[in-house]
């Protein structure tokens, strides 16, 4: 339901608002704090299992609109859910901005798989600000898929793994084209005993797009583990791909690692596929589609197929 309506109905909800994201974080959070148009509130009740995805959709239909939303998701103890949010823009709306605050709570033993698919227009400014709290033995999977050109996205969601044996994974599939500027990162703060973080990014940059892929894992507990992986493909000389992994260890038992590889498609792989009767273009397209491997998102079969479809359509459209 709408966040504004939910706040009226449930007085306790106020306690979850502006708790994970600070109002004063930056100019964008300040703007949303001043005034916002709404957003969604999702409450997954204790023990509930939602095998069908919850769909939420934010759509911009007016020109020059600066959409400001505040979303709150609470996954109660022992619940299990897949949420897919698509943010889209009506094709007749060329210029807009989207400022979105999301605060997500994953309580004890809960599992939340949150997939965000962005399809903006070429002239949109996007500034999501999200934070998640992960409690004891809870799992939070955050997926981000961005396949269409966009003017400028900058986001850096944070997960606080405070709970014992809490888990977070951040996965992103990014396709930068037509001068898109993407500065995408994620941060995991591992404070709980036995907490774990995994970050996987696959990025393709072409047609003058500039992509910065960040990732930070902060280990504050001697029994935490984290791994960060970034693979980027650069398709031309006009684009830029920058990988910035950061690992911070504050306790001596902390085990965090990263691997990053940025470069062009291997000529050897293309040739190999050509010996299997594929043309050069077919080979490149197959490698790109494979590179954008949606199975990293950990989605159920049906959703996997759907997202694979979106990714393939975009990759083939070139």
């Amino acid at each position: 339901m709408d966040t504004k309506a939910a706040l009226k109905k449930y007085s306790w909800l106020e306690e979850y608002r502006w708790k994970l994201v600070s109002k004063d974080k930056d100019e964008f959070t300040k703007k949303v704090a001043e005034d916002y148009s709404g957003g969604y509130f999702m409450h997954i009740l204790p023990g509930a299992e939602i095998s069908f995805p919850l769909q939420s959709c934010l759509m911009i239909t007016e020109k020059n609109l600066e959409q400001r939303v505040h979303n709150i998701i609470i996954a109660e103890e022992g619940s299990k859910a897949h949420i897919i949010t698509s943010c889209v823009q009506h094709s007749s709306v060329p210029k807009a901005a989207h400022l979105g605050i999301s605060e997500i709570y994953v309580k004890n033993n809960a599992m939340l798989n949150f997939t965000m698919i962005h399809q903006w227009s070429e002239d949109t400014l996007v500034r999501p600000r999200s934070a998640t709290q992960v409690d004891d033995r809870a799992t939070f999977v955050s997926n981000y898929v961005c396949m269409r050109p966009v003017r400028d996205v900058q986001m850096y969601p944070v997960a606080y793994c405070n709970g014992e044996d809490s888990r977070v994974s951040f996965n992103s599939i990014l396709y930068g084209q037509k001068n898109s500027q993407l500065d995408i990162g994620s941060k995991a703060v591992l404070s709980g005993k036995g907490s774990k973080a995994e970050m996987v990014s696959r990025a393709i940059a072409r047609e003058g797009s500039k992509m910065i892929i960040r990732g930070m894992i902060e280990g504050n507990n001697s029994e935490c583990k984290g791994h960060l992986e970034c693979r980027g493909l650069l398709m031309d000389d006009e684009s830029l791909m920058q990988s910035i992994p950061e690992l911070i260890a504050r306790k001596k038992g902390v085990e965090i690692t990263h691997e990053a590889a940025v470069g062009k498609i291997s000529e050897k792989e293309i040739t190999y596929l050509m010996t299997r009767r594929l043309s050069r273009d077919q080979a490149v397209s197959l490698i790109i589609r494979g590179f954008m491997d949606v199975s990293i998102l950990g989605l159920p079969e049906a959703l996997n197929a759907e997202i694979k479809n979106i990714v393939n359509t975009s990759a083939n459209a070139e």
Partner: protein, 255 residues
């Protein structure tokens, strides 16, 4: 008609002349075994025939079933019916072996394998690999099995096999070799097989063998005899002895 004719072929790799004025031809429906020490140019020859990048033809011509393919692309040669199995195929992250096999069979991504095809995959012990990225984390033997299965699914007229038997356990070798022989026999295709070992000769029926040394072919004769001689006296000695006919496969085959 010859399956393949090579005329005065010289090839450079990174500016260095590796193959010098080679002349030979391969007949239809015949398997040929190519021996040679490491670095003698065997892989260069197969790579050049297939048109892989990095192998520069400085002179000469390659004709495949009468068509001049010297300047044709890799995919064009593959479509004409030449298929290579690599000694060290690359890992292709994200491209599932199952999808690649479907492409080899000209199937769409959503098409299913036929019962016959499923059995074949099972026989190659690759069923559990269908959902895995091609060659990623495959052992030597698994890679070879995957290469040969792709090749059989592609139904080539000419098989270019670069050491199909290296790094393969005895049981897999037997299976691979029998499958290759069955395919060659049933399809009437030709093969050029690079090997270091004689084991494969127990299953693949090849009448012709030769040694590639210093960019030239030597000793055209029964591959088993060549293999025995190499084991006994080594490549150099084997080539130095000129008891055998030096004319080449072409004359041997036409006599």
């Amino acid at each position: 008609m010859e399956m393949l004719e090579v005329k005065d072929l010289s090839v450079k790799v990174e500016g260095k002349l590796i193959l010098k004025d080679m002349n030979f031809s391969l007949k239809e429906g015949v398997s040929h075994i190519l021996f040679g020490p490491n670095g003698s140019g065997k892989t260069t020859l197969i790579s050049t025939l297939m048109g892989l990048p990095g192998y520069e033809v400085v002179s000469g011509k390659i004709l495949f079933r009468g068509i001049d393919i010297t300047n044709k692309g890799v995919d064009e040669r593959a479509k004409l019916g030449m298929i290579v199995s690599f000694q060290n195929p690359p890992e292709i992250t994200g491209v599932k072996l199952g999808d690649l096999l479907k492409l080899c069979l000209s199937k769409g991504e959503t098409d299913e394998f036929s019962t016959e095809e499923t059995k074949r995959i099972e026989a190659f012990r690759l069923t559990s690999f269908l959902n895995r990225d091609t060659n990623v984390g495959f052992s030597g033997g698994e890679r070879k099995r995957s290469e040969i299965l792709q090749l059989i699914f592609l139904k080539p007229k000419l098989l270019l096999l670069d050491e199909p038997d290296s790094g393969v356990d005895v049981e897999s070798l037997r299976m691979i070799a029998i499958e290759i022989q069955n395919y060659i026999e049933s399809s009437g295709s030709s093969a050029l097989i690079i090997t270091h070992k004689g084991d494969i000769l127990e299953y693949v029926k090849a009448e012709y063998g030769c040694i590639l040394l210093e960019g030239q072919f030597h000793c055209f004769t029964d591959p088993m005899r060549i293999y025995d001689d190499i084991k006994r006296v080594g490549y150099e000695e084997c080539v130095a002895c000129r008891r055998r006919k030096p004319e080449g496969w072409k004359t041997e085959q036409t006599k």
